[in-house]
Amino acid sequence: MSAFDIAVVGAGPAGIAAACRAAENGARVVVIDDNPAPGGQIWRGEKSEPWIERFKRSGAVLERDTAVDERVRQRGAKLILATGARELFLPFPGWTLPGVTGVGGLQALIKSGLAVKGMRVVIAGSGPLLLAAASLARSKGAVVRLVAEQAPGGRVTGFAGALWRHPGKALQGAELILTLIGVRYDAGCFVEEACGEGQVEHVRVRRGERAWEEKCDLLAVGFGLVPNTELAALLGCDLDSGFVRTGDWQQTSVPGVYAAGELTGIGGVEKSLVEGEIAGLAAAGREADAERLFSRRASWKRFAARLQSAFALEPVLKKLAREDTCVCRCEDVPLSELKGRASWREAKLQTRCGMGSCQGRICGAATREILGWGADSVRPPAFPTKVRNLIESKSS
């Protein structure tokens, strides 16, 4: 017998929206999240965010914990997975140097107190997240030397030109661009190497035949997002092209288990919110209310599809790693040891690639992109935990 009607894993936009809609309809809701504050990576506890305010008033209980295995299913009669996404990293020479972070990583670090005033920052990779990170860094006093977008200029302007279909997004984009006047934004270029002694000091940027150096104190790189499907896979939810497969009510293939947000398809905060709302309403038995949100969800899914095609990765980015470039950062496995392996499993057995403490979260996605194979199975615990925790909960 669960103490809660609904357990939600993840307190980002999807999880918060799900929890609000369910709790506001009388369900007893617990939300499990391992971050210091609710809001996920995008809001990271921002006090001004209305959804976080609403969440605090909703009656849902927030519990700081890491859901490591299938026992989370026992926490509520129904379970909503809203485990979000992490960044995709593609290995390139120098990417292991301190001072090289993710693009979302830089945002997360700034929001958790990193002072960037006066620091020279290069932001590289792909997608609107680059602009959001540049805007945040600049607002905190960083000198943003360059925003290097890998997608060719034509694709970027085509995407921006289609934003009228989503007026809210067009306005957001315009506001963002106003904060970036004077910052150099170059499309069709990428960072091919990070250099420095003990930390990043400069990067080599390339566009076609031309390459140049940019000095920097921090390099933020991000090539898109990878869904966090580990827990869903452990629970037996069917995946489709790497994402959790969901139906009209955001239900997964496992009865009583729902999924919402980036883990069902990368699409940003609005798609996550509306999917979360639908999941929360459906799990609380309010299907009729959920159904009214279907058209909004469809609209944000179309936006997601545009985003994916506009910022699809150029093949050259998957060939930046050299023979001696580290691919698995936990076990220090270079590309030369991985080339020619038939599968993720063979690589693990022969090289320890993917067997370190991130459990293949970084190199699994990277090898899928650059070598055509990648992490294919999940074993509990889905996240490193203390033996004490496993013993305590097994015996309880």
Partner: protein, 81 residues
């Protein structure tokens, strides 16, 4: 103004605002090498959101703590090796 608290990193005293993570506090103090990789390379925070484990340090004698997911607490002792 946020309350100022004190943490100790490798014997060095840092004064930080309450609400800041250990990773941010260390980077603000100029620390870039958070751990040594298995082949001895210096590594620091990459993902910033608790996934990559590159920022792990020993906090109050507990090894392998993710500094990016841990808020500073007054008197906290941090070791990078």
């Amino acid at each position: 103004m946020p309350e100022r608290i004190r943490i100790i990193v490798d014997g060095r005293e840092l004064h930080v605002d309450r609400g800041v993570t250990v990773a941010a506090a260390m980077m603000n103090a100029g620390i870039r090498a958070f751990r040594q990789s298995v082949s001895g390379e210096a590594r620091g925070p990459l993902c910033g959101m608790g996934v990559c484990m590159e920022c792990r340090v020993t906090i109050n004698r507990e090894p392998h703590c993710r500094s990016c997911q841990t808020l500073c607490e007054d008197g906290m002792e941090v070791q990078t090796r």
